[in-house]
Amino acid sequence: MTEDQEKSFVKLVNENQGLIHKVCILYETDKEARNDLFQEIVLQLWKSFPTFRGEAKITTWMYRIALNTAISGLRKLGRKIKTEELEEFHFNISDNTEDNFEENFQKLQWAIRQLSEIERAMIMMALDEVPYDEIAENIGITQNNVRVRMNRIREKIRTLIR
């Protein structure tokens, strides 16, 4: 690929790196593993960059590859997301709204990590306002199935956070 293509690719990843970081945070627990996954996602994006024709939204394309890499890729066997204890987060009770948001975010992140890898992918896209038809297309199931599963996921999160 040309130098110009490389530059535009790097710029594109830089602008949308939040999406990749979120996938890494939800699929890996330690920093080193997250960095490895980040690099693997970037490599897979780069590999398929020439075939990206702009027909799909850039974020849809990135989601598809990032989630495919995170779910089907070989992370060290046995290095699974551990069932973490909620207490590990040591929430601080504070009246500060910003602190509450942070605490709620930590809780939400913890709850999502308890879900299966497929459920994690679905809720993550839903939280990022990806429409159900695109979620269905990215996962490879029907829209109805997405709705049913999303209800179940919401129930699970509700139980976990309660």
Binding site: K11, R64, F101, F105, L108
Partner: protein, 204 residues
């Protein structure tokens, strides 16, 4: 906070929460190596293929310096075996090729990966099922060369020797098969199991 809109609000309200990568860091990542399972297996097969070619060339060159005899025939047998290995590695690379998850949805990608890995593992197992008899008869052939063909044939007339040989052959095959099965399960078993579980979840 359990309703989706509330969850979205929390999700968005959070700041970056991560250390952003610089453009130079991202550019550097493009020079790295893939750690995907297909990428790793491909690298291993390429290494084995190059190693086999290098050994074959070295043995071939050495053969020209030898006079006809047991050592030369041993080396020629090895070269024949290495040639078979070349086809084996090329076939492995072909099986691993054309895997590109980018254009597929997650379900198709998982199905494709599961199918490819299963075919690969089965090919690996079948190849060794063929190679064990080859190894065994090659060993027998070299033994015959070493002791002299007449002496070897004389010994084969003794029923005890034939029975012992059949026993050793059976043991060799069974142990070889168990070792290959164990090795494959250790290498790819967990990953195949994980893929199967994910597919079952998607189909459920």
């Amino acid at each position: 906070m359990e309703e989706l809109d509330d969850l979205k609000q929390i999700w968005k309200s959070h700041g970056q929460g991560y250390e952003p990568k610089k453009e130079s860091e991202i550019a550097l990542m493009l020079q790295g190596r893939s750690n995907s399972i297909i990428g790793k297996i491909k690298r291993n097969v390429w290494f084995e293929l190059i190693f086999t070619i290098a050994c074959s060339i070295a043995l071939l060159v050495y053969t020209f310096t030898l006079e006809a005899g047991a050592i030369m025939w041993t080396i020629i047998s090895l070269l024949v075996l290495f040639t078979a290995y070349l086809f084996y590695y090329v076939k492995k690379l072909l099986l691993l090729g054309r895997f590109d998850p980018s254009g597929e949805n997650i379900k198709s990608s998982l199905e494709n990966l599961h199918r490819k890995l299963t075919i690969y593992v089965n090919f690996y197992r079948k190849s060794y099922t063929v190679l064990y008899p080859v190894y065994f008869f090659l060993g027998l052939f070299l033994g015959a060369l070493d002791t002299g063909l007449d002496g070897f044939l004389n010994r084969m007339r003794d029923p005890k020797t034939v029975i012992t040989l059949i026993g050793v052959m059976g043991l060799f095959f069974v142990l070889g098969f168990i070792a290959t099965h164990f090795y494959l399960k250790k290498l790819y078993g967990n990953h195949l199991l994980k893929l199967k579980e994910l597919l079952t979840e998607l189909q459920g």
